[in-house]
C-alpha cells in the first residue's frame, strides 16, 4: 500500500497516476457509516464482553456462594435479587457471561476451523477420501444437532470443555460443505494453474494460494454461528447436559428458571434469557452486515 502511495506521488513516468488507496481507518469508518446495524451489533457484543472481562470487579457477591435468603426481589444489596438457593443473580449473570461467551466462541471456532481444513483437504484430494468425507457429512447432517450434542455430553460428562466439544461437532459439516464448494471453484481458477506451472506443490498451492481465498466464507460462518452456539449451550443446560448446575452460565441460570418457572423470582426468569437474547442479537446483527460485505453469495444461507 505504501508503495502504491509512492507511485502515485511520483506519477510513474507521468503516464499512470494511481489513486491513493484509502487507509484502513478510512475504510472502517466508511463501513460503519454504511452499516449502522452492524455497528449496533458490535457495540452489543462489546458490552457483553466487558461484562465478562470485569466480572470480578463489578460483582457484588461471590457468584457461587450463598449471599442471602432465597428468591429475594431486587434491592440495593442484590441488584437482581437472589435465586432458588440464595445466590446473587447479578453477580452470577456477570460471571455467566464468561462461560456463555467462551462456550459460544470456542465451539464455533473449533468446529468451523475443523470444517475448513476438512473441506479444503477433501476438495483437494478428491477421489475416495472426498467421497468418504461427503458421506460422513451427510450422515452428520441427518442427525439433529441437539441429539448428537446430548449423546456426546452423555459420553464425556457435563463440563464446560465437553459442552464446547459437543456443540463444535455440529459446525464441522456445514463448514466442510461450504469450504469444499468454495475450494472446488477456486481450484479451477487461472492463478492455481499458474502456480502449478511454476512448479508449486499441491500442499503449497492448497495452503498458500487457495486457503487465503477461502477465508471470507470462513469469517462469515464463524460470526453467523456464534449466536446459535450460545443458544445451544442454554438448550443443553435445560436438558440436563450443560456445563453443570453449579457453574454460573446464562444457560444454567435460565434452565433453573425454565425447569421450575413457578418457584423462582421473576428476575431469574428474565435476566439470563435477556442476556442470551442480546448476545445472540448482537452476533446476528454484526454477522449480517459482515456477510453482506464479505460474501454476498452467502446471503441466503
Amino acid at each position: 500500500m505504501a508503495m502504491e502511495g509512492d507511485a502515485a506521488a511520483a506519477g510513474v513516468a507521468g503516464e499512470l497516476v494511481l489513486r491513493r488507496q484509502p487507509s484502513t481507518t478510512t475504510k472502517l469508518a466508511r463501513w460503519c457509516r454504511k452499516n449502522p446495524v452492524g455497528v449496533a451489533g458490535w457495540v452489543l457484543i462489546m458490552i457483553l464482553l466487558a461484562m465478562a472481562a470485569f466480572a470480578d470487579i463489578a460483582s457484588t457477591h461471590e457468584p457461587n456462594k450463598l449471599a442471602g435468603s432465597i428468591n429475594e426481589l431486587p434491592s440495593s444489596t442484590h441488584y437482581l435479587g437472589t435465586d432458588l438457593v440464595g445466590r446473587d443473580i447479578f453477580s452470577r449473570l456477570l460471571h455467566g457471561a464468561r462461560v456463555s461467551l467462551a462456550v459460544g466462541f470456542w465451539a464455533v471456532f473449533m468446529g468451523v476451523t475443523a470444517g475448513l481444513l476438512l473441506g479444503l483437504v477433501s476438495a483437494y484430494a478428491g477421489g475416495i477420501f472426498d467421497l468418504l468425507v461427503q458421506r460422513l457429512v451427510d450422515a452428520n447432517i441427518a442427525i439433529p444437532g441437539i441429539v448428537l450434542a446430548l449423546v456426546i455430553v452423555a459420553v464425556l460428562g457435563p463440563s464446560v470443555t465437553n459442552v464446547i466439544i459437543a456443540l463444535a461437532i455440529n459446525y464441522i459439516s456445514t463448514a466442510t460443505r461450504v469450504t469444499r464448494s468454495v475450494v472446488l471453484r477456486e481450484k479451477a481458477r487461472v492463478y492455481v494453474e499458474a502456480a502449478r506451472s511454476l512448479g508449486a506443490s499441491s500442499t503449497r498451492i492448497m495452503f498458500l494460494h487457495v486457503l487465503p481465498n477461502s477465508i471470507s466464507p470462513y469469517l462469515v460462518l464463524v460470526s453467523v454461528s456464534i449466536g446459535s452456539a450460545i443458544i445451544g449451550e442454554a438448550s443443553l443446560s435445560f436438558l440436563g447436559a450443560g456445563v453443570g448446575a453449579d457453574t454460573a452460565s446464562w444457560g444454567s441460570m435460565l434452565s433453573t428458571a425454565a425447569a421450575r418457572p413457578y418457584d423462582v423470582s421473576w428476575t431469574l426468569a428474565l435476566a439470563p434469557g435477556m442476556a442470551i437474547a442480546l448476545a445472540v442479537l448482537g452476533f446476528n446483527l454484526f454477522a449480517d452486515s459482515l456477510r453482506d460485505t464479505l460474501d454476498p453469495r452467502l446471503r441466503n444461507r
Binding site: A142, I143, P144, I146, V147, L150, V151, P272, V280, N284
Partner: protein, 320 residues
C-alpha cells in the same frame, strides 16, 4: 425419473448406516451401560451372585458379544424390520415409536403450518416494501425471532400466563382423537414458540429470494406488457423465489422429528424428542438407535421429496 429415484434411495443406505454407526460407537464409549444400571437396581447378596447376575443380564441383552457383532446383529434385525425391545420399558421400540411419532408429527405439522402462514407472506411483503417501514419492522421481528432462545420464550410464556392471567395452560397430553380442543390448547404454545424461530429464517430467505427475482428482466417484461402487479408477483416471481425456501422447509421438517426436544420438554409433550432425551439419559440403546435411524430416514426421504418437488414447481428442472 424412476432410475433417479432408485439411485437416490440406494445412496440413502450407506448414509443411514454411517449415521447409526456414529451414534452406536458414541454410546458404547459412554461410561455405564444398561447392565450396570439394572444391576444397581437389584439387591444382590454376594459378590459372586452379583458377577453371575451381571453376566446373565449381559448375555440376555446381547452385550457380551464383541462390539462389531453387536452392531451387525442390530443391523440385521433392522433389515427384518425388527428394532428390538426397550431395556427399561419392556416393550418393542416399534410400539414406542408408533405411540410417539404421531404426536410429534402433529406438533411438527402445526409448526410448519404456522411458519408458512406468517413467514412466507411476511417475506413477500418485506421484499415488496423493500426498505420501507413495514420491511424494517418485519426484519426486526425476524432477527428477534432468531435471537430469542426457545427455552426462554417458553419459560416466559408459562411465567406470564401464570403470573398475569392466573391461568396455567394445561400441560397434560390429550389425544386429538379424544379431545381436539384440549389437545390444541396444549400444543399451540410450543408450536407458536418454535415457529417464531423457524419462521424467522424462512422469512429472511423468502425476502432475499423475492428481492433477487423482482429485479429480473422477465418480471420487468411482464409488468411492461401490462400484467397487473399481483399477478406478476404470484405467477412469475413467487414461483421462482420459492425453490430455496422449499429446501429450507425440507430441512426444517427433517430436524423437527427429534429437534423439538426443548419445547416438548418445557410443555411436557410426550413426543419423539422427549423419548430421545429419556433414552439417552437411561442408556436405552435400542430406543436411541431406533429413533436415530428413523430420524435419518425421515431427513433423507424429505430431502428426496423436496428435490422431486423442484421439478413440479420449476418444469425446467429435470432429473435423469
Amino acid at each position: 425419473m424412476r432410475e433417479y429415484i432408485a439411485k437416490r434411495v440406494l445412496l440413502m443406505v450407506p448414509t443411514a448406516i454411517l449415521a447409526t454407526l456414529i451414534v452406536f460407537a458414541l454410546m458404547k464409549v459412554a461410561p455405564g451401560d444398561p447392565a450396570t444400571a439394572i444391576l444397581a437396581d437389584l439387591d444382590v447378596i454376594s459378590q459372586e451372585a452379583e458377577a453371575e447376575a451381571e453376566a446373565r443380564i449381559r448375555a440376555q441383552l446381547g452385550l457380551d458379544k464383541p462390539l462389531p457383532i453387536q452392531y451387525l446383529n442390530w443391523l440385521g434385525a433392522v433389515a427384518r424390520f425388527e428394532f428390538g425391545d426397550s431395556i427399561w420399558q419392556y416393550r418393542p421400540v416399534r410400539d414406542i415409536v408408533l405411540e410417539r411419532l404421531p404426536r410429534t408429527m402433529e406438533l411438527g405439522a402445526l409448526i410448519v403450518l404456522l411458519t408458512a402462514l406468517w413467514a412466507v407472506p411476511g417475506g413477500i411483503i418485506s421484499a415488496v416494501q423493500h426498505n420501507k417501514m413495514t420491511d424494517q419492522v418485519l426484519r426486526v421481528l425476524s432477527i428477534s425471532g432468531l435471537s430469542i432462545p426457545n427455552v426462554w420464550l417458553g419459560t416466559l410464556v408459562i411465567f406470564a400466563l401464570a403470573a398475569y392471567f392466573n391461568w396455567l395452560p394445561s400441560l397434560r397430553w390429550h389425544s386429538p382423537m379424544d379431545d381436539l380442543g384440549a389437545n390444541l390448547s396444549h400444543i399451540i404454545f410450543p408450536a407458536i414458540i418454535v415457529s417464531s424461530s423457524t419462521g424467522a429464517s424462512i422469512l429472511r430467505m423468502t425476502r432475499s429470494q423475492m428481492l433477487e427475482v423482482l429485479r429480473e428482466d422477465y418480471v420487468r417484461t411482464a409488468r411492461a406488457k401490462g400484467l397487473g402487479f399481483q399477478l406478476v408477483l404470484i405467477r412469475h416471481a413467487l414461483r421462482n423465489a420459492l425453490l430455496p425456501v422449499l429446501t429450507q422447509f425440507g430441512g426444517l421438517m427433517g430436524v423437527m422429528i427429534t429437534g423439538v426436544v426443548v419445547t416438548e420438554t418445557i410443555f411436557q409433550v410426550p413426543g419423539m424428542g422427549r423419548a430421545m432425551v429419556e433414552a439417552i439419559g437411561s442408556r436405552d440403546y435400542p430406543i436411541i438407535q431406533g429413533l436415530v435411524l428413523l430420524n435419518i430416514a425421515m431427513v433423507l426421504i424429505i430431502n428426496l421429496i423436496v428435490d422431486l418437488l423442484y421439478s413440479v414447481i420449476d418444469p425446467r428442472i429435470r432429473y435423469a
